[in-house]
């Protein structure tokens, strides 16, 4: 079978993880998280195609909806944070210190 879709999905996921861990820009952080989600979507589609049933595709819809909702909420929180901290550097958001 063609395994290029699995590899691509894993590559996308890895890029997303690296982005999450190294980015200070909050927007890019969100983008990386979305990328990880989409990598999972791609994996679902790949296996749906491989096994020829629609179960994976239904899951893709679920993931897309959840991702969209989560992005909306996250961006709303970010807007509020921006109002307090006047920046989107996540290193600035460290008030809950021990």
């Amino acid at each position: 079978m063609d395994s290029w879709m699995v590899w691509m999905s894993m590559a996308l996921f890895a890029i997303g993880v690296i982005g999450v861990l190294s980015q200070r820009n909050a927007l890019i952080l969100f983008l990386s998280i979305e990328m990880m989600l989409n990598a999972a979507n791609l994996l679902f589609v790949a296996f749906a195609r491989e096994w020829g049933n629609q179960v994976g595709l239904v899951w893709v819809f679920f993931v897309l909806v959840v991702a969209a909702a989560e992005a909306a909420v996250g961006l709303a929180l970010l807007i509020h944070l921006f109002r307090f901290k006047k920046g989107i550097d996540v290193d600035q958001y460290n008030v809950l210190r021990g």
């Binding site: 993880v17 999450v20 861990l21 200070r24 996540v90 290193d91 958001y93 460290n94 008030v95 809950l96 210190r97 021990g98």
Partner: protein
């Protein structure tokens, strides 16, 4: 009949409760009347019971009022026992108690706090009656503890005086040591017999245990130690001389006639057990004899009139224990009875002197009082002669009986010790009499106006007691080949050894020795007094300080305890304990500080940890799927 006894028992209790409840309201006069009448009712009731008992041919019985502990394994009923022993004690307690209540009306007339005093007195009578009427050891113990409490309350009656408060505390604590032994004995009794009922125990004692069984020895030893605490024997005696800080009627009642006799009563009550433990009996004889001699010597060296009498009590109690040790329980009870009369007489007549001299008890300040206190002088003299054992006064018969029985039981050394203490009794009593009543007057002239003979209310009880002291010996006398008291107590198995001796009562060599000793003691002392009056006044310091026993206790017990307490306060608590707690706190703080390093507040570090964690989880899942 049970109703009558219960009534007689609970009247004093009602008196106590009533006087306590209305302490602030009731007038001093009424308090006295109420208190005296409750005891009078008790006494009359007991007389009626005696009458019925003798008339109907004696039939000992037990009455169970209610159940104290209803459990199956440990069962205890509130049982009262009617027999000659309890009846005898009850008559002594209520009779002498009544006389002392009357006497108190006069003695305590200047007191403010009379309702409290009479309430405590009534409470004491109730507890003591409960003790002697008890048919179950637990009931006895209630009374036992109760008289200890009453003693504490009454010795420390004048609570503003530090000496009185200290004496009361000392009495209670020393009592407590004995009480601990009693309680242990009670527990052991339940373990061995499964019950605390006295009659049952006495009947069953012989079955599983032979004479000399170790269990019996331990059991009886425990009860004996309890009796030692209550009856002021060595080494738990020193509270009694100190207890003289209390009012004189209290000393007469509690520390002469009744409470201190509770120990002897206990032993006689449980004589069935004691007869199975010859080792305990031997120890008892030795302790009793030693105490008798020791206390007699101490009495010789006192300058305080009441203390002479206190040591005398200790000595006479020692004689009673001596008798019990030889198995002569009857003579111990006989002596208990005569001693109660005589000692109460002595204390009350001494109280006459003390009261009219406005509270002085030091014999240094007395002398030649026979001119001022003519009647009291006679009464006191009767007491002195009686206690010394001069026939035909009461105590001669009982003391002589003890000495005889001692000799017959084969304890010759103890016989001589008893004889010696009897001789000394004559000496110190005569000395006390001479120093107080004879010789030159030591009062100042302006005091002479206020000091005179005691009022009638104080004289009449003393007179009655004097009559009993003179005639009390009749209790031991045979009217028709059977002595009264002996016959009375025979039914519970308390009878003297060698009954054939009854007929040759006055002819034994021991009797002559006893008589001779008494006359010698009294006579020689009187003679010495007429020649060298001042020699008698100056006592040897060793005797005056009770052979430094109190100092010994102080060094052996009080000082170490205080040192330990100081050590704990100054060293253990601040350094060890505080250090320990501090160390724990610091340790926790350090751990917390380390853990705090984790909470950076940085989102990226949290994310990094999340990623690592999920990597581990994924690896685990993959491993399982394989």
């Amino acid at each position: 009949m049970p109703l009558l006894i219960a009534l007689a028992l609970f009247f004093p209790l009602a008196g106590f409760l009533g006087l306590m409840a209305f302490e602030k309201i009731v007038s001093r006069g009424w308090a006295g009347i109420v208190a005296c009448s409750t005891i009078f009712v008790s006494f009359i009731s007991f007389l009626i019971v005696l009458f019925i008992y003798l008339k109907g041919g004696m039939e000992a019985q037990s009455f169970t009022l209610f159940t104290l502990i209803p459990l199956e394994r440990i069962h205890a009923d509130f049982t009262l026992r009617l027999d000659s022993l309890s009846l005898l004690m009850a008559l002594i307690i209520s009779g002498i108690g009544f006389l002392i209540h009357l006497y108190s009306l006069g003695y305590m007339e200047r007191e403010e706090d009379l309702p409290r005093y009479f309430a405590c007195l009534n409470f004491f009578i109730f507890c003591m009656l409960l003790l002697v009427w008890a048919g179950h050891l637990l009931v006895l113990f209630i009374g036992w503890e109760g008289v200890g409490v009453a003693s504490y309350l009454l010795i420390g009656f004048w609570s503003a005086r530090p000496a009185a408060a200290q004496a009361a505390t000392k009495a209670f604590i020393m009592n407590r040591i004995g009480d601990l032994a009693f309680l242990l004995g009670l527990i052991l009794t339940y373990t061995v017999f499964g019950t605390g009922d006295i009659v049952e125990i006495s009947q069953r004692a012989g079955e599983p245990f032979m004479v000399g069984a170790p269990v019996m020895t331990i059991l009886t030893l425990l009860y004996f130690i309890g009796a030692t605490g209550k009856s002021a024997q060595l080494p738990l005696y020193s509270w009694l001389p100190d207890a003289m800080e209390g009012p004189t009627p209290v000393s007469a009642l509690i520390h002469a006639a009744t409470m201190v006799t509770a120990g002897v009563y206990l032993i006689v009550r449980l004589h069935a057990l004691f007869l199975l433990a010859p080792i305990t009996l031997q120890i008892m004889g030795v302790v009793g004899g030693g105490t008798a001699l020791f206390a007699a010597l101490c009495a010789l060296g006192q300058t305080d009139l009441k203390r002479v009498l206190a040591f005398s009590t200790v000595s006479q109690l020692g004689l009673m224990f001596l008798a019990c040790g030889a198995g002569a329980f009857y003579s111990a009870m006989f002596h208990l009875t005569t001693h109660a009369f005589v000692k109460a007489l002595l204390f009350l007549s001494a109280g006459n002197v003390v009261h009219m001299m406005h509270g002085t008890t030091e014999m240094e300040k007395m002398g030649g009082l026979s001119t001022l206190f003519r009647k009291t002088d006679r009464f006191f003299l009767v007491g002195v002669l009686a206690l010394s054992g001069i026939p035909p006064f009461a105590a001669f018969f009982s003391k002589d009986l003890i000495l005889e029985q001692e000799f017959l039981a084969g304890y010759e050394t103890l016989f001589y010790i008893g004889l010696a203490s009897s001789l000394l009794t004559g000496v110190y009593m005569t000395r006390a009499y001479c120093l107080t009543f004879r010789g030159a007057l030591r009062l100042e002239t302006d005091q002479l106006k206020t000091v005179k003979e005691a009022p009638l209310v104080m004289l009449i009880p003393v007179a009655l007691l004097a009559l009993l002291a003179i005639g009390g010996g009749a209790l031991g006398y045979s009217f028709d080949s059977q002595p009264l008291l002996e016959n009375f107590l025979r039914e519970i198995g308390v009878n003297p050894i060698e009954e054939e001796l009854r007929s040759g009562f006055l002819l034994t060599p021991e009797t002559w020795l006893a008589m001779g000793g008494a006359f010698l003691g009294v006579g020689v002392t009187a003679l010495v007094y007429t020649r060298y009056p001042d020699r008698l006044r100056a006592p040897f310091p060793l005797l005056k300080h009770q052979f430094y026993m109190n100092e010994l206790y102080d060094d052996a017990f009080v000082k170490p305890l205080k040192a330990i307490s100081r050590g704990i306060v100054h060293y253990l608590e601040p350094k060890v304990l505080k250090g320990l707690i501090k160390g724990i706190v610091q340790g926790v703080q350090r751990v917390a500080h380390q853990l705090q390093q984790w909470q950076t507040g940085q989102i990226r570090s949290y994310m990094a940890w999340m990623v690592i964690g999920s990597a581990f989880v994924l690896a685990y899942v993959f491993k399982e799927l394989r």
